[in-house]
């Protein structure tokens, strides 16, 4: 039987999942629930690949690390398989440790842009209906945790949400304006209107 391959892409990162559907469980032929191989391809970086038992801990590592980074905690994640540490506010060092004793750990340096690409690829995998894997606990916890404090923190939200949302919208709006604004064109237009 031919194996199914599914790819998830985000800018410079792609995640490839290879595996089979569980036909005994009435799954469709294009689904994957028995993963045989996965590859995380980052442009200009070494290929990261491994067995199914490595995928879950790696996804968790990236989720936990990105949460720590954004929620003003110390951005440091350490486990038997992977360490992620912030070098500064822009750069992060990833150390991937092999289970084989003769293989040296692989160190990869990534920036915020690649970090968000990787996390977005994992989000796509977690949200995909075609890949049936045990969803990351961190991903599920985020969704569960969000529901409970909402009601208790309404007053807090009322106070802090509008400034945050306005900052975000300012960031988005300012970049949109920069993107569409071309001073050279305007200058040329002005020259055409009043050629002196």
């Amino acid at each position: 039987m031919l194996q199914n391959k599914l790819s998830f892409h985000q800018s410079s990162v792609s995640l490839e999942i290879t595996g089979l559907p569980d036909l005994s469980n009435n799954e469709y032929k294009d689904q994957i629930s028995i993963i045989s191989e996965w590859k995380l391809n980052i442009i200009d970086k070494p290929l990261i690949e491994g067995r199914i038992e490595h995928l879950g801990p790696i996804i968790d590592a990236f989720y936990i690390y990105s949460n720590l980074l954004v929620t003003n905690n110390i951005p440091l994640y350490e486990s038997k398989l992977i360490d992620i540490k912030a070098e500064n506010i822009h750069m992060h060092n990833i150390v991937l440790k092999s289970s084989k004793s003769d293989v040296k750990p692989l160190t990869i340096k990534i920036g915020n842009s690649l970090l968000s690409d990787i996390v977005n690829c994992f989000d796509q995998l977690n949200e995909s209906s075609k890949v049936k894997i045990k969803k990351s606990d961190t991903f599920d916890n985020i969704h569960k945790k969000v529901k409970s404090p909402l009601k208790n923190k309404v007053r807090y939200i009322e106070y802090f949400m509008p400034p945050f949302i306005s900052i975000c919208s300012l960031i988005l709006l300012s970049y949109t304006v920069i993107y569409f604004y071309s001073p050279l064109e305007n200058k040329e237009k002005n020259e055409l209107i009043s050629p002196k």
């Binding site: 842009s113 968000s116 977005n120 969000v146 949400m161 509008p162 960031i171």
Partner: protein, 126 residues
């Protein structure tokens, strides 16, 4: 959100704005604002990514960051109450750098279909 005016009114709940009016924001309205923010982040992800990348290699792309930063501070001066201490902090170059980078990173991490749940989580716990 029945129309754009509702969004405009909700925006004025922000105490940092010059045109601040305290309309009690409802939970559903808050959720809607979060979803709008996530949808805009999705659309603008390539540009947000570019700004973040520009600080990773400052020698190569500092123009992108400078343009963005200039426009960002211009908009704050134009629309926010610059007498407020919090706004002054947002305009202070030594204080605002980390806030801007983390806000951009937060937006870039929440562009998936269920990204609004993640953005809510980040907002509650940050």
């Amino acid at each position: 959100m029945p129309n754009k005016i509702t969004i405009w009114k909700l925006r004025n709940n922000n105490p940092l704005r010059k045109s601040h009016i305290n309309n009690d924001i409802k939970l559903e309205e808050f959720d809607a604002l979060i979803k709008i923010t996530v949808e805009m982040s999705k659309y603008l992800y390539p540009y947000i990514r570019q700004i973040l990348k520009s600080k990773e290699e400052p020698q190569k792309n500092s123009v992108i960051w400078n343009d963005f930063y200039k426009r960002f501070t211009e908009l704050i001066k134009e629309r926010f109450n610059i007498n407020s201490i919090r706004v002054k902090k947002l305009l202070n170059q030594s204080d605002n750098y980390e806030i801007i980078i983390k806000s951009l990173l937060m937006l870039s991490l929440c562009i998936s279909n269920e990204g609004y749940k993640k953005l809510k989580y980040f907002l509650f716990y940050s």
